[in-house]
Amino acid sequence: MNNILIALITGLTTGGLSCLAVQGGLLASSLASQVELDLKNLPNTRTKGKHKKAAAIPVARRVHLARPILLFLTAKLLAYTLLGFLLGALGSVLQLSPISRGILQTAVGIFMLGTALRMLNVHPIFRVFTIEPPPSLRRWIRKLSKGSDSAATPLFLGALTVLIPCGVTQAMMALAVGTGDAVSGAAILFAFTLGASPLFFAAAYLTTRLGAALEKYFTRFVAALVLILGLISVDAGLTLMGAPFSPTNLMIRLSSPQDQTPASTGAPAATTKMGELIVNAKNTGYQPEYLQAPANQALNLIVKTQGTYSCSRAFVIPDLDINEMLPVTGSVAFEIPPQEAGKILYFSCSMGMYGGAIRFN
């Protein structure tokens, strides 16, 4: 859910401009033929001076230009949703375990970081983080964009934008793969493309040159956003792998006193009776995030939910290969085998966004 919201906000804030800068050429080409046709078909209204015609032209153009833009955006939305579905399905095929998913998510994050650094022109080496369609495909798209003005052209060109995704879109595509689920992948790209549509429409409608002009000013902003998303993704991937050095796991450890007894730390009050630990999976994460437990004895970890709809429901303990979808409301017990003193067992949601740890003393 969080990823879908992030995708929607990314689309709303930066996606439209970024996409327009990359894909605007296709739209501009199809609009150009529409404008030519409008001018050609314009009725001869020059009966009472030039002012009447001057007023008639913009109205005719407005009506006719809105249609191909809408068709273009509709096709783009459908094509990207399908692409998200396929990418999510690809991610699910690749997903073998929480750890493999963590590796994928980390790779996605690295791609995002590379994309951001490329956009910021930090070093030419970051240009490798680009998807360039082959020359023959580019040529075909270009020829096609100069085609007729029928509804089929903007529809087809809109769908073809999947072949020339902008940097932010590529980052969202990577995120879709990282979900490891076809429906979630489709939802992410649907949300992103939908979010990007109003700005894309407005900018394209006002002038097709606006995208290029604004891109100059917004590139750094877009890159900064992708950079943040990349860092979040890398952190999520590492957390999902149970890596002790992931920023989330480091924060959990640093913010929790290690040498105090369960009773004095407050958090480990989750231990209710001998051999039993309780963690609440809430919509905003796990509570407590940090628990202490006796070493060398088997434990029952009870994870409770109450109206929980966030990804914290998808509970993962990478080291024990536990990957369980919890009920919206209820509790699920997990057997924890005896652990050595000093061992820290990390748990997280399946997206690696929320985490926690159990320290054995």
């Binding site: 894909q23 050429g25 022109n121 998807i131 270009r142």
Partner: protein, 69 residues
């Protein structure tokens, strides 16, 4: 058919590639234009009887890029 390679260091996004390759349609005599964002170059195959390197460079400049031959 002759061939010339330009270095175009102000390609700042992959879309520039398609924009630049448009000279293929704009300039008679240009048989094929293939740009690369990664290498920041564009290779042009042209008919020297119909177009000169200077005219090709000028067409690139018209698109807002500075070619180095």
């Amino acid at each position: 058919m002759d061939r010339v390679t330009f270095t175009i260091t102000d390609m700042h996004c992959p879309n520039c590639v398609m924009r630049l390759e448009g000279i293929e349609d704009d300039l008679p005599g240009v048989h094929r234009a293939t740009a690369s964002y990664r290498s920041q170059t564009m290779e042009v195959e042209y008919d020297e009887a119909l177009v000169t390197v200077k005219e090709i460079a000028s067409a690139i400049r018209d698109k807002g890029y500075e070619p180095i031959c």
